[in-house]
C-alpha cells in the first residue's frame, strides 16, 4: 500500500500510479495538455508541474510515479505562476482567432487560459507564421494554432501504427506535417483529429458550420460500416449529423475510429436517398403511398404463392440491416409465405467460412474478443488485409507488433507491411501450397497430439510440399523457416482469416489448413467480416438450412417452438441458397423475390446473368436507401431508413450484440423490420410490434442462443457471446476437405499480355455504399487498378494512367496504380464504383464442398483507355 499526500489530502493506492492519476482519484484537478487517453506520458507541455517535498525543482505530475510518503502540492503560488507561464508561452504565438476556430468551446487551451492564464499579453515581437493547409479533402491543418503537444503524432505512431505524420523542423520552428507534404494521403483514420486539444487539426466536413454548443442532441451508437462494430457518438442539430466522434469511455474500440466510421456518415444525407415508395407502372417506377406499396406487395406475394406455391418465393437478407430487420424478413419468407429460400451475401464468404470452422470445432469458435488481440504474442493472417477490411481490428494486430509480438501475413501484407519481418507473398493461386507447408512444419515441430481423431487423421495425411515448388511461387525458404520456427514458440496466438481464402478456389482446403493451424497452435480464430451485421443476419436464420439461433431446419423441436410462439410452421427441407435462387429465377422456378438492403446485381459476380435472372421474376420487391442497380429493376421499391436513423441490434464478428440507436431522421424511410412487419400483417400475421424492442423480445423467446437476453441489457459487456446462455455444442462432426491429399499444383501463370484480376478492398470504401459519401469520395473518388509495377511496365502502362480492363464477362475503367505488394501478373480492382466494379466483370462457379462463391473468368487484358 502506497500512501501519499496531495494538497493535504491523503491518497492510498496499491498500484504504482502517477501523481496525476492519484490526484484524480481524490478529485484534485491538475491541468494537462500533452497527456491523452491511451498514450504514454510525454512530459513535454509542462502544464502539470507540481511541487514535491524535498525536491528542488517542480516535477511533471503526468510522468512521476508516486512513492510512499510523498508529499505533493498542486496549488502553491509558485505552481500557479508556473501554469500561467506555460500558458503565456503557448499563447505568444497562438493566433487568438477563437471566434472563427471550430474548436472554440471545447478547446483545452481556451479553457485553461480562462482558468489559469494571464489577463493581458506582453509579447511585443511579431507572431511566427506557420502554414495553414486546406489541400486535404477531409482534414484542415492549421499549424498557426498548433501547441506541439504531439498528441496527434503519438496517436498516429503508437495507437494507429500508421506513422503518417511527424514533427518537422526544430525548436520554435517545429510544426506537424504529413510525410506526404500537403495532403495527408494516409489512412485517414482521423484519430489525430480527436487527439488535437486545439484547433490545429480539424475536420473539413463541418468546418465553420457549427459550434460545439450548437449540438442539440447526441446518441451513442454502433458504426454501420464493417464487422468490428465500433462505438461512436453521433452529434446532431435538428435532423443533421454534425459530426461523428469516438467515445473514449465505451466500446471495444477504445476511442479509435477508421476513415469510414469517422467521415463516412454523410451518405445518409445524400440527395439521391429514396424519398417515397415506388411502384412500377407502365415500365416506370412512380411514387406511391406507403399503404399502396404495402398492399400491392402483399397482394402480389399472396397471388404468386397461391399460384406457384411457397417454394417459388425467395428472400435476400443483408448484413447491413439489424438483427430485427433480418429476423422479420426471415419471418416473412419462412413463416408467412412458407419458403426456406432465404439467404444473404454472407454466402459469398463469411457464412461458408464460419460454418465450416464451426463444423470442425463447434459453435462460437470464432467468437473471440477483438481487444484481446492486443494481448497476443503473435498473429497469423491469411486471405485478406485486416487493416482495410476491419481497420480497428487491424490496429489491434499492429499493437501486437508494437509490444514485440510477431505478425505473419500470407499473401499481400498491405497495411501490415511495416509489422512483418518477411513477406510471404506468393504467386496467385499458391496460397494453399504455402499454408500446407507451414501447417505441416508446425505440426511436425509441435509434436502435437490431437484429442480430435477426425482432425488428427487429416493432419497426419498432410504431405509437406517440396521447397522447390514454394520457391517457384515466389516465397523464400528463409521466410518460411522463420514463420514455422516463430509460430511454434507463440504462447497466445491469433489466427485471422480473410475472404481470399474462399473466393478464389481451394476454399475448404484453405479453411481446414487455417483452422487446423489454429488448433495445433491453440490460438484464437477471427474471421474478417466486411458488413456490420453479417453474423447477426445468420443468427436470425437468414440462411436456407438454418433457423433463428443457428438450429438446422431439420431439427423438429425448434419447429414446434416456432409454431407455438408465432403460430406458424417451419417449412420442410432446406431452401435454396443465393446462387440457386439466381439460377431458379433464371430457369423460372423462382417467381418472386424480396431483397432487403442488398444489391445482388452489383455484389454477385456475372452481372449480366444476375440482371437477367432478376428481370425474369414476376415480382421483385426491394427495400433500400438508394435506387441501386438492383432496386432499379424492382416492381416495388421501399425507402428504408439508414443506419443512423434506426434502433436495433448488430452482432459483430466477435458475436457481440450491440445496440444501434436512432439519431437523425433525415429521410422518410422506414426501418426494414417495420416495412416487413406491415407486409406480414397485410398477409395475415397475428402479431403486431410496437417498436424494435418488441421484435427483439420475440427473437429472445424463440432463439435458444439469445434466450432471455433483454434488449435493455445490451450495453457494456452485456452483449458478449454466449450471452449468458449455452452455445450450441455437440454438432462437431466429420467434414470434407477437398483435395487435401492432392499435392498442390503449381498455378498456371497468365499468358503474356493477360493478367489475373483480384478483388481489392480499399481502406477508404465500404463496399458500394460509400460511393454515396461525399467525404469518402473526396478521399478516393475513382476506381483504382492496383498492379505490380513490373507487370504494368511489361504492358507498356504507367502509374496514374486511365486503363480499360476487359474480361470475358465485361469491361471496367480504372486508374492504374503501381503497387509493389501485388505479385507479378496480378492486378486488383475494388467493388465500389458504379459501372466499374470488380464483380461485374468476373464470373463464378459454386464450390462443391462449401457451396460458396468461387470467382472465375479472372484473366483480363489491360489497355490504355482511349482519350475522350
Amino acid at each position: 500500500m502506497i500512501k501519499i499526500t496531495i494538497d493535504g489530502i491523503e491518497v492510498q493506492t496499491d498500484r504504482e500510479i502517477t501523481i496525476l492519476e492519484a490526484a484524480k482519484q481524490v478529485g484534485i484537478e491538475i491541468p494537462t495538455l500533452c497527456t491523452f487517453k491511451n498514450l504514454s506520458p510525454s512530459g513535454s507541455c509542462r502544464m502539470c508541474l507540481v511541487e514535491i517535498e524535498r525536491l528542488s525543482r517542480p516535477q511533471t505530475a503526468c510522468t512521476v510515479k508516486i512513492t510512499d510518503g510523498m508529499v505533493v502540492r498542486t496549488n502553491s503560488e509558485a505552481i500557479m505562476r508556473a501554469r500561467k507561464a506555460v500558458l503565456e508561452f503557448l499563447l505568444i504565438n497562438h493566433p487568438l482567432d477563437c471566434p472563427v476556430c471550430d474548436k472554440a468551446g471545447e478547446c483545452i487551451l481556451q479553457d485553461l487560459s480562462a482558468k489559469y492564464g494571464a489577463a493581458a499579453g506582453r509579447f511585443k515581437e511579431g507572431k511566427r507564421t506557420n502554414p495553414v493547409s486546406f489541400e486535404d479533402p477531409v482534414i484542415v491543418r492549421d499549424m498557426q494554432r498548433c501547441i506541439l503537444c504531439t498528441r496527434c503524432v503519438r496517436t498516429c505512431d503508437d495507437l494507429q501504427g500508421a506513422f503518417a505524420i511527424s514533427v518537422i523542423n526544430r525548436g520554435s520552428h517545429s510544426l506537424i506535417e504529413p510525410f506526404s507534404g500537403g495532403r495527408f494521403d494516409c489512412e485517414y483514420c482521423g484519430n489525430c483529429l480527436s487527439a488535437c486539444p486545439v484547433g490545429a487539426i480539424t475536420s473539413k466536413l463541418h468546418r465553420h458550420t457549427y459550434r460545439p454548443w450548437y449540438i442539440e442532441r447526441q446518441v451513442e451508437t454502433i458504426c454501420g460500416h464493417c464487422g468490428v462494430g465500433c462505438t461512436l457518438t453521433l452529434q446532431m442539430r435538428e435532423n443533421t449529423i454534425i459530426r461523428v466522434i469516438p467515445d473514449f469511455e465505451k466500446g471495444l474500440n477504445s476511442g479509435m475510429l477508421c476513415v469510414m466510421g469517422r467521415f463516412g456518415y454523410d451518405y445518409t444525407e445524400h440527395e439521391e436517398r429514396l424519398r417515397s415508395p415506388l411502384i412500377r407502372k407502365d415500365g416506370e417506377l412512380v411514387p406511391v403511398s406507403w399503404e399502396e406499396a404495402v398492399e400491392f406487395t402483399a397482394w402480389r406475394l399472396k397471388e404468386l404463392v397461391k399460384k406457384y406455391g411457397g417454394g417459388a418465393v425467395a428472400g435476400i437478407a443483408s448484413g447491413r440491416c439489424t438483427n430485427e430487420d433480418n429476423y422479420m424478413l426471415q419471418k416473412l419468407i419462412r413463416y408467412v409465405l412458407g419458403s426456406n429460400n432465404i439467404d444473404s451475401a454472407a454466402r459469398l464468404f463469411y457464412r461458408p467460412a464460419v460454418s465450416y470452422l464451426e463444423r470442425m470445432f463447434g459453435q462460437g469458435i470464432t467468437a473471440n474478443l477483438i481487444p484481446g488481440i492486443a494481448n497476443s504474442d503473435g498473429v497469423f493472417v491469411a486471405g485478406g488485409d485486416p487493416t482495410t477490411i476491419n481497420p480497428v481490428l487491424g490496429i489491434a494486430v499492429r499493437s501486437v507488433w508494437k509490444k514485440g509480438g510477431k505478425v505473419f501475413v500470407v499473401g499481400k501484407s498491405g497495411g501490415l507491411r511495416s509489422n512483418i519481418k518477411h513477406e510471404l507473398n506468393h504467386a496467385e493461386g499458391a496460397g494453399a501450397l504455402v499454408l500446407t507447408w507451414i501447417l505441416a512444419k508446425v505440426y511436425e515441430k509441435k509434436n502435437f497430439i490431437s484429442e480430435n481423431s477426425i482432425i488428427d487423421k487429416k493432419l497426419s495425411a498432410l504431405k509437406v510440399p517440396d521447397m522447390d515448388m514454394l520457391v517457384r511461387v515466389g516465397v523464400s525458404p528463409e521466410a518460411l523457416q522463420y514463420t514455422a520456427d516463430e509460430l511454434v514458440r507463440l504462447k497466445n496466438p491469433v489466427v485471422i482469416i480473410g475472404p481470399e481464402t474462399v473466393l478464389y478456389g481451394n476454399g475448404s482446403k484453405n479453411l481446414f489448413l487455417l483452422g487446423a493451424l489454429n488448433y495445433v497452435l491453440n490460438g484464437r480464430l477471427f474471421v474478417l467480416m466486411d458488413e456490420p451485421n453479417t453474423q447477426g443476419c445468420l443468427d436470425m436464420g437468414c440462411s436456407p438450412g438454418v433457423l433463428v439461433g443457428g438450429r438446422p431446419v431439420e431439427l423438429e423441436t425448434f419447429g414446434h417452438k416456432m409454431e407455438n410462439t408465432a403460430g406458424m410452421k417451419t417449412p420442410e427441407g432446406t431452401g435454396l441458397n443465393l446462387f440457386e435462387m439466381i439460377n431458379g429465377a433464371n430457369s423460372g422456378s423462382i417467381k418472386a423475390m424480396f431483397v432487403m438492403g442488398e444489391n445482388p446485381v452489383f455484389n454477385i459476380p456475372d452481372k449480366k446473368k444476375v440482371e437477367s435472372a432478376l428481370q425474369k421474376l414476376e415480382f421483385l420487391a426491394v427495400s433500400d436507401i438508394f435506387l441501386t442497380e438492383t432496386a432499379s429493376l424492382a416492381d416495388v421499391v421501399f425507402p428504408a431508413s439508414a443506419w443512423s436513423e434506426k434502433d436495433g441490434t448488430y452482432t459483430n464478428l466477435e458475436r457481440r450484440l450491440q445496440r444501434l440507436r436512432k439519431g437523425t431522421m433525415s429521410s422518410r424511410g422506414r426501418a426494414d423490420w417495420k416495412i416487413l412487419a406491415d407486409i406480414c400483417k397485410a398477409l395475415g400475421m397475428k402479431e403486431s410490434y410496437t417498436d424494435v424492442k418488441s421484435v427483439w423480445d420475440e427473437i429472445s423467446r424463440i432463439s435458444s442462443v439469445h434466450s432471455g437476453v433483454r434488449y435493455e441489457s445490451l450495453i457494456g459487456r452485456g452483449g458478449i457471446w454466449p450471452y449468458g446462455g449455452e452455445p450450441l455444442r455437440g454438432i462437431e462432426g466429420d467434414f470434407e476437405v477437398e483435395g487435401l491429399e492432392d499435392m498442390p499444383e503449381l498455378p498456371g501463370f497468365a499468358q503474356s499480355g493477360r493478367v489475373i484480376l483480384k478483388e481489392d478492398k480499399s481502406l477508404i470504401h465500404s463496399s458500394s455504399l460509400s460511393r454515396y459519401s461525399p467525404a469518402l469520395m473526396g478521399v478516393a473518388s475513382e476506381p483504382l487498378l492496383m498492379i505490380n509495377p513490373v507487370t504494368a511496365q511489361s504492358l507498356g502502362l504507367s502509374d496514374n494512367e486511365r486503363v480499360v480492363i476487359t474480361s470475358d464477362k465485361g469491361t471496367a475503367v480504372a486508374i492504374l496504380r503501381a503497387d509493389r505488394g501485388m505479385p507479378e501478373g496480378v492486378a486488383a480492382l475494388s467493388n465500389t464504383f458504379k459501372d466499374n466494379g470488380f464483380r461485374s466483370i468476373v464470373g463464378y462457379t459454386i464450390d462443391p464442398t462449401l457451396k460458396s462463391l468461387n470467382i472465375t473468368d479472372r484473366v483480363v487484358t489491360i489497355e490504355r483507355a482511349k482519350q475522350l
Binding site: 506520458p41 510525454s42 512530459g43 513535454s44 507541455c45 509542462r46 502544464m47 508541474l49 528542488s56 525543482r57 517542480p58 510522468t63 505562476r81 508556473a82 507561464a85 506555460v86 503565456e88 508561452f89 503557448l90 505568444i92 504565438n93 506582453r122 509579447f123 511585443k124 515581437e125 511566427r128 501547441i147 506541439l148 504531439t150 511527424s166 514533427v167 523542423n169 526544430r170 525548436g171 520554435s172 520552428h173 517545429s174
Partner: protein, 421 residues
Amino acid sequence: MDERIILRNTDDPLNASIAGYMAHGGYKALEQAVGELTPRDIIDEIKSSGLRGRGGAGFPTGMKWQFASLDPKFPKYLVCNADEGEPGTFKDRPILEHNPHLLIEGMIISAYALQSTRGYIYLRGEYPHAKRVLERAIEEALASGYLGNDILSKHFRFNLTVHSGAGAYICGEETALLDSLEGRRGLPRLKPPFPVNSGLWGKPTIVNNVETFANIPYIVSQGAKAYASIGVKDCPGPKLFSVSGRVNKPGVYELPMGISLREIIYTHCGGIKGGGSLKGVIPGGISTPIIAPENIDCPMDFVHLPKYGSMLGSGAVMVFDDTVCIVRVYERAMKFFEHESCGKCTPCREGTAWMRAILGRIERGDASERDLETLQDVAENVTGKTFCPLGDGAAGVLLAAMKTYREEFEYHIKNKRCKVQ
C-alpha cells in the same frame, strides 16, 4: 618524457596509427585488464579512482558502470558521446584526431568491464576528419585483434562503429543521442528509466564522454591510487580545458583538476590579448554561468565551481576582456539556444525564442526598462521548468549575466547603443 595522460604523445604524428600508439606503450592496459583483471575488479578500480564523467555533469563514472552491470538485461551497449557541440568546447577533438587509440582502448576496457559486445561512437557531424581517423583506427584495432569477435583470444567480443550526428546540439544530451542513434528524431527522453537500465533499444547502456574513456587506460595500468593523487579530493585526475577568447595563447590544455582560472589564463595561456582588462570568464561552455574577474581564483573542478555560482561543464573556458559587449555575447548565445532547442517542451521552445527577440531589441537599442523586466521574468519562467537542461541552461546563464552585468544591459536601453565601442 611527456607528463600528460590524455594528450600524451599527441605531438607525435604517428601516434594516431596503431604502430605509433603501441610504440608508446599503447594497448598494454587492455592486455593487462583482459589478462589479469575481472570485470568486477575494473569497476571497483574505477570507483575507487574517483573518476567523474567529463561530459559536463560530473557524475561518478564507477557508480554509473555499477548500475549498468547490475542490470540483468543483455546485450549491454557502450556509447561514446563524441558529439562535441557546446559552444567554446573543442577539448575532445585532439583525442579524436591525434589519440584515437587511447579512446578505443578505453572503450574496449570499459566494454570488458561491462560485458558489452557492441559499442558506438556518436561523433559530431562537423568532425569529418575525426571520422576518418577513428574509422582507420578501428580497422587497425580489428586487424590487431583488439576488437572483433575474439579479442586477445580470450573469447571476449566487442565491435565498434562510428556514427556521425546530423548537426543537432540536443543530440549531445545522452537520451537524445540514443534516439538519434536509433534512427529517430533526437529528442530527450523521459528519465527514469535511465540509460543504464533502459538505453539504446531499451537495453542497459553506458554513455560516457570521449575524455572519460580516455582516462580509463591510465587508471587500469597505474592504479586508482596514482590517479586519485592528481587534482583535488572528490574530483581527481587530469582535465582538458579548451581555452578561447581574448587570451594570447588559446588552445587545449591538459591540467590537473582544481587549477584556478587565474593560472589557466595568466600562467598557461599567456594572459589577456592586447593587455586589456579582464571582463568575465565563462568557465565550462556557453551553458555555464559567467564568472566575474574578482572570482577568477576559483578552483576549476566539479566541486568548487558551484560555490561560485557556476559549473565546470565541459571545461571550455571563454575569456572576455573589456572590448566585448556582454549583451551581444548573450544575444548571440540565445540565438544558438533558440536554434538548437529541440522544441519538445513549451518553456524552452517558446522561451528561448522570446528571450532572443528581447535581447535582440536591447542590443539594437530598441527596448525599454519594461523589456528588461519581461526578459528577467521570462528567463525565470523557463528556469527549472524545462524537460532537459538545455532550456534551463539558456535561461540560467542569462540570469547570471543580467545580475553581474546589469548596468551594461541598462546602458543599452538608456543610450540606445553599446557601452563598448
